[in-house]
Structures are given as structure tokens and as C-alpha cells.
Symmetry: C2
Subunit: 268 residues, 2 copies
Amino acid sequence: MPQLSLMLNPSLREAAGLIADAVAKHRLLIVLGRCSVRYTGRGASRLGPGDRLVIVKPDGAVLVHRPRGYSPVNWQPESSSITAEETGEGLLLRSVRGRPREILEVLFTRLDLVLAVDGLEDTAEFIEYLDESEIRDYLAEHPEEIEEGLHVIRKERPIGDGYADIVARDKEGNYVVIEVKRVTAGKDAVLQLHRYVETLRRENPGARVRGILVAPAIAKDARSLLNSLGLEYRQIDIQRLYRKIAAAQARTVTQTRSILDFFKKTKH
Amino acid sequence: MPQLSLMLNPSLREAAGLIADAVAKHRLLIVLGRCSVRYTGRGASRLGPGDRLVIVKPDGAVLVHRPRGYSPVNWQPESSSITAEETGEGLLLRSVRGRPREILEVLFTRLDLVLAVDGLEDTAEFIEYLDESEIRDYLAEHPEEIEEGLHVIRKERPIGDGYADIVARDKEGNYVVIEVKRVTAGKDAVLQLHRYVETLRRENPGARVRGILVAPAIAKDARSLLNSLGLEYRQIDIQRLYRKIAAAQARTVTQTRSILDFFKKTKH
DNA sequence: ATTTCAATGTCGCCT
DNA sequence: AGGCGACGTTGAAAT
């Protein structure tokens, strides 16, 4: 059970000790109050006074959240070293990151709530499904989903200084480079595929090398770029594919992360 | 001044009302407790029981933070619709996003702290410096930073299906395409520049077209790729450039966002 | 609404 | 530590 140290509407002076102690002892620190923020490092920013929620995690990550929006207005990643001290202008929380050198400063002028938490336990494994590697692996096992007669040579093949998702040969013996996307493909994906095709052509003079972009959709301009580069596009239905992947994994009983289990309609 | 409604170590039943009320009335809600998380939408994930910090913002953004790390383990962007209700298994916080259709569910089994906050005021403007457009604009005004004798024709020129940062002529009348990066340049940047150069060559048969990549650093493989494509690289010192930009803006008194002011050694 | 590109992107994997 | 590509990328600007 977590242990909480809580202060409501404390003065800056009253809370200074708790805040400094919390960051020094790597507790989770939550502060709600009025503050200004200043950041400098890879970029730089300033934010005038306002009511914000500031979180300092045990690993040194710092988040400054405004009342709206998904993303923090300012932040510091884990392993930044943090200090807190009272100054003439307010209570200054200062986070310094080594490499790259970055400094985040939060100056509090009013505190509504200060909370320090100890003894948090969170060891559960985070399980993600439906990422690109799952599609890629399934398509490598079932290349007929892309085209009849494909024979996979290998997947994640180093080509030049990148990796082609799948390299295969078609029924006529031509090389086929396959690039898989789980979201709408843009020009980036087309150029990536083009690069791999060109490299394979250089490595195999005389051989015909095809390039197939596999994605649920393709942007209009990306489509014309793809055409002009002589590449091909195969649309796939991600949802349909996932049902197949789930079924395939269900047959592999030893699978640790059973996707079928996830799709069960259990109430949590 | 914000108004706080706070409960410490409440039972699920005790807190259900406050939580449901807070999300319904678009208060800022902060919950610390033990929970499981389930997400499905573009992707899918599951997370078993653990102690976490859950934040629901007035605009419907939801964040689930584990004790470590900068990024939330699960989240929902603003404008998701949120409900909370007690079930047989625990207190279920449910957030639904419309397009794309995504559902985030947090099932609490123990509550350490529940806090609802009203009346937050945060109207300050967030001011950012040092983004790429500032460098590009400055270099377009001061091309001598790249090379003596450059004459800028235009910036952000549409080329093919992208935009060249700067197009200029050198003192010998050759076209020069300039690609600016504020971080280490990779292969992408090299290929992007190469495509613009190629396009300009096609548009101007017979003309010599140079390509210069301007960045604080370049990746090793990107460098050899650049060389093999006959392109050029100019290193720039971002920090030094920013001091110049600041000085230039200082002379423009009407500038709203004075970067010089930011660099002043004021204590916040 | 779609597409494109930058981002203090972050994160994980691999060399 | 550097390079590379995916990400539930997010976010903003332009079309």
C-alpha cells in the first residue's frame, strides 16, 4: 500500500521541505499550483504564470500539464537530476538532463496541493497487439495473402543501410521486395521501398526486382509517386488479417501472448 | 483559486460519486490507485493490476501513468467522452473516442487518493523558440552563413511533391538547393535533398544544380550516401546561429516574441 | 477532411 | 553510444 504525504494550500515555505525531500528520495511527487515554466536544451520555451499539474516520477521524469490537452506543455525524460529550493521569487523546481544538456525550471508562486507518494508497486507486463511486426510475420508465413506463388527468402533483410520487411521471389523467379504498413502509406513508405528495390537491383545486376507496398490505404500523391517509380501496391484489410492472426496463434498453444485471449469478450 | 474535492483511501463505493461527478462536470480529475487497463482501437493493449496515476482533464483527455517513464502507458486524447461506474469487479472508468473509434477502460480495485479540481486558470501563451522555420528564415536572409556569394531565389519552393527549404544561385550562376535540419541529418534528409536536386535538374536541362545539406551534424552512413550522390554538407552551429537570430530580432523592435528577452539572464 | 512535414518527438532494437 | 524505423506517434500548416 502506498504511503502518502499530503499538504493542502501550503505556503511555499511550508511545502519546500516536502518537495525537496520527495525529489531527493525518489518519491512520486504531484504538485498542483500556479507556476511559470522555462525550458532550454534542444529547443527552448517559456510559459507565463498559470495553474498546472506538475508530476515528478521516482525515475526523474518530469511532466508539466496544463488543464487541457493530451501532451505535457513541458517535460523532462527519466534520469534527469532534480532539485527544489525556495527563492525570493518562488519555489523553484529545477531538472537537469546530462546528454543532451537540457534544463527545465518550474517556478511556483502558489501551491494548491502537494503530494508525495512512496511504495508504489507496478510490475505488470504491458502487452501490445496489432503492431507492424505481427502483420509482417504473418505475411511472411502466408505470402499468398499478397500474391500467389510468392516464395519468401527472408524477412527483415538488411539492405544497404536499412531493412526490407520481406524479400521474396515470385513464380517467375523475380526478386520481390515487400514493404508493410499498418496505416495509410505516404510518400515516405514509397521512397523507402524504392530505396530497397534500387539497392537490390545494384546487388543483382540483370535480375528483375519488383517492389510491392502492402498497406490498408495509400495517399493520393504517394500513389502517383509509386506508379512513376514502377512500384506496385497491394491493399490489405487489417481487421481481416488480425482475425487470421488470432486464429493462427490460437493453434499455437504455447504462445505466451495469446491474441485470442485478448479478443475474448471477457469483462476485463 | 482552484476548488479541491479530495478523498483519501476511499472505498470504491464512496469515491464513485465524486469520480462520476468530476468527469461529468469536466473537472480535472486525479486518481491514484491500483488498476488494470485495457485499450482497443487503432492498436490494442492490456495491462494487469498495478499502482498508477490516472488523470482526466476537463477537455476529456485521459492519461494513465505508471511510476516510471516520461510517456503514459495508455491514454486518450482530448474530446473523448468519459463515464465512470461501479461494477462487480471494481470502479470502471471508460473513455470513448469517436473517430477513430477507440476505447480506453481503467478498472480500479483500490483507491489511494481521488482529487477533483475546479476553477483552474491558465491563459498564458506558450512560447517556443529554435524551431526549423526560424533557422530556415534566418539562413534565407543571411545565405552567406552557408556560402559566400549565394543569392536566394526563394524559400519553401514546391519541387515535385515536396518543398525545398531554400533555392539559390551561387556566384557562378549555378542553382543551389538547400535543405536545412536542426538535428543530426539522416539518410532521409539526404534522399529528400537528392530528389529536389534531381527534379530541378529535369526542370532545367543543361544547368548545373548543386545540393547542400545544412545541419549541425550528419550520420555516418548518411554522409557516405551524400558523397556518393554528389551532394554537399555544411555544418552549422545551432547555438551560435540562435544568438545571431536573437540579435537580429532585437533590432526588430516590433517583434512580439523577442528571443533576446528569452536569452536574458533574468531569474525567470 | 486529407496530406504533408516537423518534433525538446519517444521508444525499442540492433550494431 | 549511434543509427534506424515504428509509433494507438502527436501536432500544425497547407491544400
